[in-house]
């Protein structure tokens, strides 16, 4: 995690401002994600974490500031044009297509790719998530919460993103499943993925991440190596409950 810092970042967010009507939700945040890093964005409810990810993904338009992937400016493109550039968001609340089968959901994840490449990617996902293989033809809305989260992550991976953004992948899951999700994140990291992770579970997020940003009401208040923040007094008080 040290030598990558010197290269140009994969994702660079610069002075981002986002509004919901008159509400100033993101007030000038800047952050970077380097290749092969896991970076986590933690913060209390309503701090603006999801807004940040949704803006990077192109679902929301910033009023000011830039989002760059490999130096190419993404703002103003719209989400559907950003995906093929190598950025994929697994959104908060999973938002899988409930009425489609597991396999169809995965195929939709590869919507902008060459159809000929899809079977190989499907196999890859089924290997990583054997539970999904067993349920290939099941209607996604009937999956359990944990299975739905795995499907959402697999679907986001189907576009072969250079950067995977995960918005609260552990939300609403039993502790055992939370562990499983974090194991998957670690595995993805080991196989070379670059991840921007938003989490309520700051303890676990900081444990897997290389670097972290702490957000409070639309601004970044702290940043640094994850291990440092994990042992920082202020972070411990505010987010780790000790």
């Amino acid at each position: 995690m040290s030598e990558v810092q010197t290269a140009a970042p994969l994702l660079r967010v610069n002075d981002l401002h986002v509004y919901y009507g008159a509400i100033h939700a993101i007030k000038g945040i800047s952050l970077e994600v380097h290749e092969n890093e896991i970076v986590t964005l933690i913060g209390a409810n309503g701090a603006g974490k999801s807004t940040t990810l949704n803006t990077i993904a192109g679902l929301l338009k910033p009023r000011q500031g830039t989002v760059e992937l490999h130096g190419a400016v993404l703002n103003g493109l719209g989400a559907s044009k950003i995906v093929p550039k190598g950025l994929s968001l697994c959104p908060e609340g999973r938002r899988i297509f409930q009425q489609m089968t597991v396999k169809e959901n995965l195929e939709m994840g590869a919507y902008s790719r060459d159809p000929a490449e899809i079977p190989a990617s499907l196999d890859e996902m089924f290997q990583r998530f054997p539970r999904l293989k067993e349920r290939e033809r099941q209607i996604a809305g009937t999956l359990s919460g944990g299975e739905q989260q795995m499907l959402a992550m697999a679907r986001a991976l189907m576009s072969r993103p250079k950067l995977l953004m995960l918005d609260e992948p552990s939300m609403g899951l039993a502790p055992i499943l939370v562990e499983q999700i974090f194991d998957i994140i670690t595995e993805l990291h080991q196989s070379g993925a670059t991840i921007l992770l938003v989490e309520q579970n700051a303890q676990m997020a900081l444990a897997v991440a290389d670097r972290a940003y702490v957000m409070e009401t639309g601004v970044i208040t702290m940043q640094g190596p994850a291990q440092e923040l994990l042992h920082n007094d202020a972070v411990q008080k505010a987010y780790l409950g000790s």
Partner: protein, 292 residues
């Protein structure tokens, strides 16, 4: 035998409602709006076919294709010019725009073709009466029911199997998530309007083949009834539009034949009210789920 005659007429009328209702239900499912101008696209389609047959001497099939092409372009244009700029606007604004668009189409038709009703020419569709057993069936009835069945099968396959069909299902379920897949939502909505409008052209020709009087308001009542059929079957659902349309047609014809000619339409709407009281999401509609 009278009963069977009525049944055939009901199925035929219902098939027309069903084909129109498909346009309402697809647009509602995917763009989440009620396109009240849809009925008037039917009227435009019928006028184009009428001109093709009467003035331009086109063979019937070519006249129908011309009507489909014009309506497709019209549908895409209406969506792009009037509805797309309102994508983020309140649904009431969109509804009022759609009603305005409906009147605009009617008045433009009035300018071009005048207020005098035109009598729709005979074609192969309504050329003959077939005698099957003791039954007297107009060929228009057969073609209409057949068209309905073919369209139903084609649309089901389209949404189940094709890439664009699947993209439509995604947009209909969750527009934001669909965008995150790389689906171009605007293009998907355009294609939906294109399909709905092409079907409206077919419905216009079939309607005027069975009821050959054409005027600028021709699309209004069938449009409203088909909208009713879409709600009846469960708005947003393709099989629901089919079922709702066919049932509505049958109920209307039976109501007129056995209860009262004057009250035929009232019976139709009374049935709708009862169904919605018992099952607010319509016959095949899915109850609205709360997001977790």
């Amino acid at each position: 035998m009278i009963f069977l005659d009525n049944l055939m007429n009901g199925l035929s009328l219902g098939s027309i409602y069903a084909i129109i209702a498909l346009g309402y239900t697809m647009v509602y499912g995917i763009a989440k709006m009620l396109n009240f101008a849809h009925g008037d696209v039917i009227m435009v389609g019928a006028y184009i076919a009428f001109c093709g047959l009467q003035y331009w001497g086109l063979p019937p099939i070519v006249a129908i294709l011309a009507a489909m092409v014009v309506c497709t372009v019209l549908g895409i244009t209406i969506e792009g010019l009037a509805y797309r700029p309102l994508r983020q606007a309140a649904s009431l604004a969109v509804l009022i725009t759609a009603i305005g668009m409906s009147y605009l189409l009617q008045n433009v038709a009035l300018m071009i073709w005048g207020a005098n009703p035109k009598s729709f020419p005979r074609t192969f569709i309504n050329s003959s009466i077939l005698h099957i057993g003791g039954l007297n069936v107009s060929s228009a009835t057969i073609y209409t029911i057949l068209a309905n069945v073919v369209i139903m099968i084609a649309l089901t396959l389209f949404t189940a199997k094709t890439k664009m069909g699947k993209a439509m299902r995604c947009v209909s379920e969750d527009r934001g998530a669909a965008e995150l897949m790389g689906i171009n939502v605007n293009r998907t909505i355009s294609v939906t309007f294109a399909i709905g409008s092409a079907l409206a052209a077919i419905a216009g020709v079939l309607l005027c083949s069975s009821y050959p009087i054409l005027q600028p308001t021709t699309g209004s009542m069938p449009g409203i009834k088909a909208f009713t059929a879409a709600v009846f079957g469960g708005i947003g659902s393709i099989p629901g539009a089919m079922l709702g349309g066919v049932l509505l047609g049958v109920i209307e014809i039976f109501g007129k034949a056995y209860i009262s000619t004057e009250l035929g339409d009232a019976i139709v709407f009374a049935v709708l009210i009862v169904v919605l009281l018992v099952k607010p999401s319509g016959l095949l509609g899915k109850p609205v789920r709360e997001k977790v």
